[in-house]
Amino acid sequence: MSGDSFSLNLPLARFATDSCEATALYRELRKPLLRYLAGLGLSSEEAQDVVQDAFLSMHKHLAAGGSQENIRSWLFRVAHNRARNCQKSYARRLGGPLDPVFDLISHEATPEQAVLAKEKFHRLDKAIRSLAAPERDCLMLRAEGLRYREIGEVLGIPTSTVGDTVERAVKKLAEKCNV
């Protein structure tokens, strides 16, 4: 080897910072992402694969100097698009009716309360299934704590449209669930 030397200008400090941020983001957003993807109809394995891919993409995005702004909606958008690729057809979304055996029904509830809660859940299930796809998407992202602006970024629709869609969907559910 000759005595020539070269320096690698690796952004190590930035990389370390990004890694910490990425870890924090992973802890914060893994479960919401999984819940959203399961709501889109992905199986547990598919959802976990998509989440892993999304975080890997985020890591590459940050390592390449990508913007950290709106990273939450960025992650959801990547996951959403990959989920769409997983699903060959929209018909795969939401399988059979759900049975809330391990759900909201508290263990301390009386049998009567449990039956009422189950009936309420089935009404909600039916009402949710009757929603249009964009309405359901908006509600799922809203349930994960995304703002209307972020939901618009994920779904590629204007913020005002998100507001109208959320309002329409919530009113439909309230009407159908008789609350």
């Binding site: 479960k31 999984l34 819940r35 959203y36 399961a38 709501g39 992905l42 199986s43 547990s44 394995e45 959802a47 939401l94 759900l98 809330p100 391990f102 759900d103 909201l104 309420k120 859940f121 909600l124 299930d125 949710i128 509600l139 799922m140 809203r142 349930a143 994960e144 703002r147 209307y148 507001g163 959320v166 309002e167 919530v170 009113k171 559910l173 309230a174 669930c177 609350v179």
Partner: protein
């Protein structure tokens, strides 16, 4: 219907401008109808969030069930039964106990150590054992037989057998299985 009812959900989600949110907040406190609607929308929102949890839990449980499809235990059981039947069918009808004859103790009372030059190595011993085979007329040997030379050190703890002593194991075979084993010093 109240004029403000169209902005209630955006107000609940804190998506209104500050001044507009303040106006709507004051209205909701004063309007029973809007309060009722807000309560209903909040109830639906909580229900929807819980529904998302159930969807995720269902997906996880489905994963656990999917790990082991129902047909797997059935097929595995059938395969195990078939294997047992096959083994039983291939086994000989009667299995005789393997006679193990060891004459080590009676053959060699305390032996004085021999010099290394007189001790045959395992290869030489194998030839000697082949020769000795012809002398064991009283042992009903089933043909064919296999002879294996085994160094004494490999069978007994150090010091139990004089150095260099070997044993010959005669294995008699019949029907493809071992019918007899005899050890000779």
């Amino acid at each position: 219907m109240c004029d403000f009812s169209g902005r209630l959900i955006a107000w609940m989600d804190c998506e209104l401008e500050a001044n507009e949110a303040a106006v709507l907040g004051r209205h909701v406190r004063a309007c029973a109808e809007c309060r009722e609607r807000v309560a209903a929308y909040e109830d639906v929102s909580r229900g929807f969030a819980a529904y998302c949890d159930v969807v995720l839990e269902t997906a996880m449980v489905t994963k656990i069930h999917r790990k082991l499809p129902r047909w797997v235990p059935v097929v595995a059981g059938a395969a195990a039964v078939a294997a047992v039947v096959l083994v039983l069918a291939l086994l000989p009808r009667s299995v005789k106990p393997i006679p193990v004859v060891s004459r080590v103790a009676e053959a060699r009372p305390p032996i004085a150590p021999k010099t290394a030059t007189n001790t045959p190595n395992p290869v030489q011993r194998r030839h000697a054992a082949a020769h000795r085979k012809t002398q064991t007329a009283n042992w009903a040997v089933a043909e064919p037989a296999i002879q294996i030379a085994i160094p004494g050190d490999a069978m007994f703890p150090p010091g139990a057998v004089p150095e260099g002593v070997n044993f010959v194991a005669n294995l008699s075979l019949a029907d493809g299985s071992v019918q007899g084993l005899r050890l000779q010093p």
